[in-house]
């Protein structure tokens, strides 16, 4: 049995051709077979998963299914609080901590009937990594375990790509959903800021943190986001607005969409590898052929977005970690502490200048994209590098393609756009205006359906 997509599994379960218990056991068996190599899980909750799967099966047999996620095995990034189950943030500092409450999104996904298989690896506190000096090893890329998954939602990216789970949760403060989705060849969406509650998820940077889903396909991300989204009056950033039907645009083409391309981002500001450029060109050709209008746009440079995003991020992160930095410095992994400490060295005035620059950049971005529905660029500059080649300052030396949409709060997602010469996946990033996830899913799904990249899974050696 090959791990099905969420949509496929939902159809089979509804038709009583696939049992949630059988599907859960398949995933647990697969974890046992390959996760010794991938290290995508920090903890596997087999017993609870099988009990929840039996309950889902009972609902199905009683004609009381909760919908397309009922009986679907997933995993949660280990910064998502889980009641009664250890939540570590992949850090020695939280070893043994057991939350008394579920994160709001964990509750929502459980209410939709998902089966939690366990807690997934992350870069330490969603920031450092890949680190080799933590209580658990870093996750490995299923397409080639010698290579990096990106992060920080590293375990979710690896586990979805390897078919250990059908979907999972991630968080994204500078690209932590879209980066691993790109390197692991899956789909991952950072929704609009405020669409998903962050309550119960360990914070990194309050004004930049986003919760979102990762899955094998765009359609599966839409299904997961439908369950995760919604107003939470206790999360100050939560958006009090109706949740649309995210599947409304699926199965349609891109006709009528106006797609902006900030070519200078991936051609000049940070030139991408040929395979990534070809993937972008393929996506634009597909959409153009379906009747979308492709328009070049000029935005602030990637470096402008990176500067404001990084300064805000590390200032807010350092404020959260400062007490431990002073008392438990050596308990952090080297990568996290050496990067995050920068937040303790910048001045309050510089933090405020970054916040003022953020408003200016958001306004410039909005002005330059008037009349545009979507933006398209790279998600990552190339294929995943070897995990042992990642340098401590790589993420500072070059600007990322993902941070612009943390800074602006726009929804953005990574979608597999082909494979590079090393056999590893490459991706395209698509972004939409705030709360326009339906158009984003429409275009992403149209591209995915027009290509054949979802037919190829990593060939893992057990």
């Amino acid at each position: 049995m090959q791990t099905p997509t969420i949509a496929e599994a939902a159809r089979l379960i509804a038709a009583r051709k696939l049992s949630p218990v059988e599907l859960t056991q398949h995933c647990l068996d697969r974890i046992k077979t390959v996760d010794g190599t991938l290290h995508s899980f920090i903890q596997v909750t087999s017993e609870r998963a099988l009990a929840d799967a039996s309950a889902a099966e009972a609902r199905l047999m009683a004609g009381a299914s909760r919908g397309p996620l009922d009986g679907i095995p997933i995993g949660h990034k280990d910064i998502y609080g889980t009641r009664g189950i250890a939540t570590t943030a992949h850090s020695k500092l939280l070893e043994g901590w057991v939350p008394t409450e579920d994160a709001v999104t964990v509750t929502k996904l459980a209410d939709a009937g998902t089966i939690m298989l366990g807690k997934l690896a992350t870069h330490e506190f969603a920031f450092g990594g890949p680190s080799f000096d933590l209580p658990w090893p870093p996750a490995r890329n299923p397409w080639n375990p010698d290579h990096f998954t990106s992060g920080s939602s590293s375990g979710t990216g690896a586990a979805v790509a390897a078919g250990l789970i059908l979907g999972g949760t991630g968080s994204d403060t500078g690209g932590s959903i879209r980066g691993p989705a790109a390197f692991c060849g899956i789909a991952g969406i950072k929704p609009t800021y405020g669409l998903c509650s962050r309550r119960g998820i360990l914070p990194l940077s309050f004004s930049l943190d986003h919760a979102g889903p990762m899955a094998w396909t765009v359609e599966d991300c839409a299904i997961l986001l439908q369950a995760m989204a919604g107003y939470d009056p206790i999360d100050p950033a939560s958006a009090d607005r109706p949740v649309p039907d995210f599947s409304a645009g699926l199965g349609r083409d891109a006709k009528g969409l106006r797609i902006g391309v900030p070519r200078h981002w991936h051609e000049t500001d940070f030139p991408v590898e040929d395979a990534v450029q070809q993937g972008i060109d393929r996506a634009l050709a597909v959409w153009s052929g379906q009747g979308a209008e492709i328009i070049d746009v000029v935005l602030p440079s990637l470096q402008e977005y990176q500067a404001a995003n990084f300064i805000i991020l590390v200032a807010e992160a350092y404020a959260l970690h400062e007490p431990w930095f002073r008392t438990r410095w050596n308990d952090y992994g080297e990568l996290l502490r050496d990067r995050m400490v920068m937040g303790g060295l910048i001045s309050a005035a510089d933090h405020l200048q970054a916040l003022r620059r953020r408003r200016e950049i958001c306004m410039l971005t909005a002005e330059a994209t008037a009349g545009i529905d979507l933006l398209v660029t790279a998600a990552a500059p190339g294929e995943a590098p070897r995990i042992d080649s990642v340098q401590k300052w790589t993420n500072l030396a070059k600007p990322g393609f993902t941070a612009p949409f943390n800074l602006t709060g726009w929804p953005a997602m990574s979608v597999c756009s082909g494979f590079g010469p090393g056999g590893l996946p490459v991706s395209v990033q698509i972004a939409a205006k705030p709360f326009q996830e339906v158009k984003l899913f429409q275009a992403a799904d149209a591209f995915e359906r027009a290509t054949h990249y979802r037919a190829k899974r990593p060939a893992l050696v057990s």
Binding site: S207, P236, Q303, E304, Q306, A307, A308, F310, I311, F325, R326, W329, D338, R339, V341, M342, G344, L345, I346, D350, L352, Q353, A354, L355, R356, R357, R358, R359, E360, C362, K392, W393, L396, A397
Partner: protein, 67 residues
Amino acid sequence: MANTSREDFEALVRRAGLSLTPEQISTIYEGWGYVEPMLARVRTHGRGREAEPAHIFRPEMFGTEAD
């Protein structure tokens, strides 16, 4: 290579209340060389005094009606 002198950088570390070894300071000093250009970018845009940050205090978040 950072523009800030090593002595001035060590003063920043002390101000943060951190007690680090010379080797740890050397490592972070290297990274500071990448942060400095970012600080320059957010400082130098000739914005007016009236330009507010992206996040301002909203009193209605904490109740607006008389009890």
